[in-house]
Symmetry: C2
Subunit: 268 residues, 2 copies
């Protein structure tokens, strides 16, 4: 049995391409359909009701396009909208997957790195404590990481100086696991691993959700055996900037299809 239908991946922007990359690396036989809701980003500053509505419209769009399952790569949507989502498909979010891997690996003290919105929501903290009540969790907003990644300054002395300033207090407080709780951060993983050293486990939610999806597709008989299609990338607003960042995240040029997911436009 082989289910050739694509896996849908949705994010508010192009950051979720790190999740698509992790899925492609872990599941080379699967075809991906990516949707970046670039017209309405960022989600992190919007109300829960608005994020729920946008998430539902995006999942409905992927469902109409014939996906067999959906991965919600957006941290805000994972935190706020997964509970109330109406869908006949399996839907997985990055937060539960990232938290589960960190909880499994930590010796007791986890540092969570994320955007200000994610840290303020404490979504990873709550997920981690649900899984292991004994865990100590320290969360830190790193607002410079996303623009540094989007500038393409990955292996860079400026980025290293910024990362050192953010992460040093966490490391000094005895964190044994660093959870990268933002779609952009996997591109900083080599630098962060070097700063953290061997004694600290680095967990990224993108790799964690790819691992979870691999197991779940197998368990539900939904896995593909050979790659039948071509990965396809949709955005709700295209610009030179989005194309540049997409190229950088996927490490290759990519065609972006401009789509209308339906539902109420922003501010209408």
């Amino acid at each position: 049995m082989s289910d050739a239908r694509p896996i849908g991946v949705f994010d508010s922007g192009v950051g979720g391409l790190t999740v698509a990359s992790a899925l492609a690396a872990r599941l080379p036989a699967e075809t991906l359909l990516y949707l970046g809701d670039t017209a309405r980003l960022p989600y992190g500053t919007k109300s829960a009701a608005t994020v729920e509505r946008y998430t539902q419209a995006n999942v409905d769009f992927l469902e109409r396009r014939g996906v067999k399952a959906v991965v919600v790569a957006c941290n805000t949507a994972s935190a706020l909208a997964l509970g109330r989502l109406r869908s006949a498909l399996p839907v997985w979010g990055v937060i539960e997957a990232g938290a589960a891997e960190a909880a499994a690996r930590s010796r007791g003290r986890v540092g969570v790195l994320g955007t200000e919105a994610t840290v303020r929501s404490d979504a990873y903290g709550r997920a981690l404590r649900r899984l292991r009540a004994d865990l100590e969790v320290e969360s830190l907003a790193c607002p410079l990481f996303v623009p540094l990644v989007e500038e393409g300054w990955l292996d860079d002395p400026v980025t290293e100086a910024v990362a050192r300033r953010y992460v040093t207090p966490l490391l000094e407080s005895g964190v044994d696991t660093l959870l990268l709780g933002c779609t952009h951060y996997p591109l900083l993983a080599p630098l962060l691993a070097r700063l953290a050293g061997d004694g600290v486990a680095l967990v990224d939610a993108a790799t964690a959700v790819a691992e979870q999806v691999a197991g779940e597709l197998e368990r539900r008989g939904l896995a593909a055996r050979t790659k039948a299609g071509t990965d396809h990338f949709c955005v709700t607003d295209a610009s030179e900037r989005v194309e540049r960042i997409a190229r950088e995240f996927l490490a290759r040029p990519v065609a972006l299809e401009l789509v209308d997911v339906g539902g109420a436009p922003e501010g209408a």
Copy 2:
């Protein structure tokens, strides 16, 4: 004659507090009423129609609160919404004022620093060329400046390294005037002036619009002679983060009133 009514200042967020500070410094007898539309920021990623609608609602709110004139501190709103605004009050934007001062001071080559949205709109470039067709204009997006300022890393080696990387190619291309085309950038002015050196004029739109407002109030008989009221600060969404940044921008603690400007909510 003294007109004690406040001057309204509006921005999509708290960045426009640099404009409020410049007005307070230039016009110590005037009272200010500030409105930061923090619930709906950022404006830079939104359509012209949406920015127009938000700007109208914000100006209407300030008018209902009894201001005698409005300064639009938001670059996006200045660029997209001033033309179609309906208001009985005098309304001034940062772009025309900043461009006018840069055009008056430049010996021929202006570098414009701004956010990606402002640079993409080319609003300063068009305003500069309208004023002086002979000007050469080179615009550069500096996406790390806003988060660096919001982190409070103003006089900082990381910020200096970032600024040097951004500005060096502009300086090497022979720019004689640097126009700071973003509300946040005046906080980086000391650092940028040091990097640019004596031969380069630094023009910031906040100071420029304050100078313009001073002249226009005088000309129209609207100036206040002695300060009659207390400056007042309103936001459409309050958070610890907004309060922290407001405190940093004004260099003092400040009470923020949460207000509803009316009009359609985002995404409704």
